[in-house]
Amino acid sequence: MEKKTECDVIQDTLAVPYELAYGPTWTRFFEGFQQEKILGSRCQGCGRVLVPARSYCPRCFVELNNFVEVSQEGTLMGWVLTDYRYYGMPTEPPFVSGFIKLDGTDCNFLHLIGGIDLTDPDEVRRKIKTGIKVRAVWNKDKRGQIMDIKYFTPVK
């Protein structure tokens, strides 16, 4: 048989089904979403308020079971404009993801920044800056998922 210079390529999609348990803490967190509440946990060890709520503090390893409602407003600590498509993306690009320090909490919460025109990067850069205040905007239809919050929008 003659030796080929070009080799075959086999195309396939690896598909594997999963069923992941929410467990008590995610369940409670997303129940909060149904009532348009963002729930965090206060660590009895270090006193930090962490959001999303946790079952234990990742630094003190203290079990956490006191849920606290946190503010829906916060300060933008970092952001990124994404303009390409990828598997698992939250919405059609372009979109802005941000690091939001919700008032009264001690960590950054990740979500989208929206409610403004995102087509021109330079315009986005003028409107979205680290340090601006943002507020949660909710979807009407709640499905108990992180995207029940539509995005955070700049507060005038």
Partner: protein, 388 residues
């Protein structure tokens, strides 16, 4: 007490898009090159350490089973280490532990990735849980852009200056890659091409970002007695450091990044290094993104916080600068992820052995290798020296 450990030598594939070979054959290319370069008799090998990024990348789980033949691991103990982007340096550290403990004298260490076979972006979403973080930080450029922007804003570095420094790094590394026979991207660029390239995640542009590479790296690590028997000039492991953050991206500061600081401090303490910029002769910093590279310079003490841009623009980290970084072209030009960290170690070793060919830094005696992994979560550092 830990026994001294030396690196005898290594072998790499020609990195790039490698649909000319099936995956085990690619691994074999690096292993056979390594055995040839080091003159090691495979019969003397005590064990194999292997790793890739998530196996999901290649659509075959637990690839070390698939590669048993190519790794020449039949009849030998095999350890798999997988720490995402830092896999490569974790492999070298795993082998270090194994030999330093006295349980092995000669090990084959191999890292590989065939990124073009899968959808690398989709694979990276598979390392995140689907309750929360997956939606916002999947896609490596997004994560690093978020981190880099926070850094620039924290130290009030003007956007133009950051751009100028990133362009300098991109230009330098792409030129360096021409002197590395194994590098993937070999492209002569101009400042203008870099500054006006397509935006990937604002403000990161095309030439600020590493490619998807197929490739493998294999290395021989040995105890003192065995290393001295095999080569006149082993590269000695002088220090190691490794540290990881908590899982949640928003829980820790990624600008004055504790795990990067801690990993380098551990390695410096073990190697007796007090002033890294003066005492190191060359560094192979894991730099998939130009912007993030500067953040590492600061965390590793090569520059004060907020000052890396100034030093980059002064040429401190260029080939003829005070501390040349990534003379191989680095991760920016070649990134088969599971192999990348090991390539950093192999390159840092070649530098102190005086075997880096056209990208040799003259007289290099002490070098640093680094890799980062997870959702900007893990950092590993290794210091190598020509003297034990």
């Amino acid at each position: 007490m830990a026994r001294p450990v030396g690196i005898v030598g290594s072998g790499q594939t020609h990195h790039g898009r490698r649909f000319d070979l099936a995956y085990p054959e690619l691994v074999s290319e690096a292993v056979e090159a390594c055995l040839k370069n080091t003159g090691v008799d495979p019969k003397d090998i005590d064990g194999v350490v292997y790793g890739s990024m998530p196996s999901m990348m290649e659509g075959v789980a637990l690839t070390h089973f698939y590669f048993a033949d190519a790794l020449r691991s039949v009849g030998l103990p095999i350890l798999k280490t997988e720490t995402c982007g830092s896999t490569g340096i974790s492999l070298a550290i795993t082998a270090y532990y194994w030999i330093a403990s006295g349980m092995a004298d000669l090990l084959l260490v191999v890292g590989s990735e065939k990124m073009n076979e899968g959808d690398s972006q989709a694979t990276m979403t598979s390392i995140l849980e689907p309750f929360y973080q997956m939606y916002f930080i999947s896609g490596a450029p997004g994560i690093f852009s978020l981190q880099s922007q926070s850094w620039a804003e924290r130290f009030k570095i003007p956007a133009d200056k950051v751009r100028e420094a990133a362009t300098r790094l991109s230009l330098d590394h792409h030129n360096d890659a021409f002197d590395n026979p194994y590098a993937h991207i070999k492209q002569r660029l101009t400042e203008e091409q870099i500054n006006t390239a397509r935006v990937i995640t604002y403000p990161i542009r095309l030439w600020d970002v590493c490619p998807n590479s197929d490739g493998a790296c294999a290395m021989i690590m040995a105890s003192e007695k065995m290393a001295k028997k095999l080569t006149k000039k082993p590269a000695w492991v002088k220090g190691i450091g490794y540290a990881g953050d908590e899982y949640w991206f928003g829980d820790s500061d990624k600008v004055m990044w504790q795990t990067a600081i801690q990993a380098s401090k551990q390695a410096y303490a073990m190697a007796g290094i007090k002033n890294p910029r003066k005492e190191l002769d060359v560094a192979e910093v894991y730099n998939p993104f130009t912007y993030q590279e500067m953040l590492f310079y600061e965390c590793f003490g090569f520059a004060e916080f907020g000052k890396a841009c100034d030093l980059v623009l002064k040429g401190t980290f260029s080939r003829d600068g005070e501390l040349p970084c990534d003379p191989s072209g680095g991760t920016l030009c070649t990134n088969p992820i599971g192999a990348t960290g090991l390539i950093r170690v192999a390159e840092a070793a070649m530098q102190v052995q005086g075997q880096a060919g056209d990208h040799q830094i003259p007289g290099a005696k002490t070098s640093l290798a680094h890799a980062m992994g997870g959702v900007v979560q893990y950092n590993g550092v290794m210091i190598l020296g020509s003297e034990k």
